[in-house]
Symmetry: C2
């Protein structure tokens, strides 16, 4: 169980994959489109897409000669939003504690 959850998180733990998911946020895209969009090289993108597909995060559909990928599990974006918010807040606090070393607040001591 824990292993499964960890695998999912690991899937989201690569910047390139996050970029790919973001590229799919507003609709399906073919491999080629994503490659061009991210300025990546084709085998790399393809590999990541296959991994995401194996993890059940994206769906895959052949159409003619191309293959369209799309988000299969929208929960992804909620996850990213949560992490994003929390991370940016964290960064802000760290900045504060750097600029004003004296901070007798309750929630410091990180």
């Amino acid at each position: 169980m824990i292993e499964l959850v960890a695998r999912r998180f690991r899937m989201l733990g690569e910047p390139q994959r996050l970029r790919i998911l973001r590229a799919l946020e507003h609709g399906r895209r073919t491999v080629g489109e994503i490659v061009e969009l991210l300025q990546g090289n084709q085998p790399n993108i393809s590999k990541h897409l296959l991994a995401l597909h194996a993890a059940g995060l994206v769906a895959r559909r052949r159409e003619g000669n191309s293959i369209y990928y799309s988000i299969a599990d929208p929960v992804i974006f909620r996850l990213c939003e949560l992490v994003c918010r929390s991370a940016s807040q964290d960064a802000r606090e760290q900045l504060e504690s750097l600029t004003q070393p004296e901070a007798p607040t309750t929630r410091g001591k990180r």
Copy 2:
């Protein structure tokens, strides 16, 4: 930005770290307590705790000779719950599609 988010996800992408976080879910614990609880070896646990601390996910407080770690960012558990739900649902669907290869439903084709 994306790099930061990815780093957070990667932090959650190791089973051992998830176990550590779970051990902290209901309150702070010392390193030794966690080591004993997870049957791990001390340097390993210590390393993970330091990493989690550097990532801002756990807080750290010295008390006498021991060091207490605690959850710094409860959003972690919301993340885990979301992933957990989605993962288990996914697993269920995969099972279904294995047992009944004929599934003319709308949401198949994964």
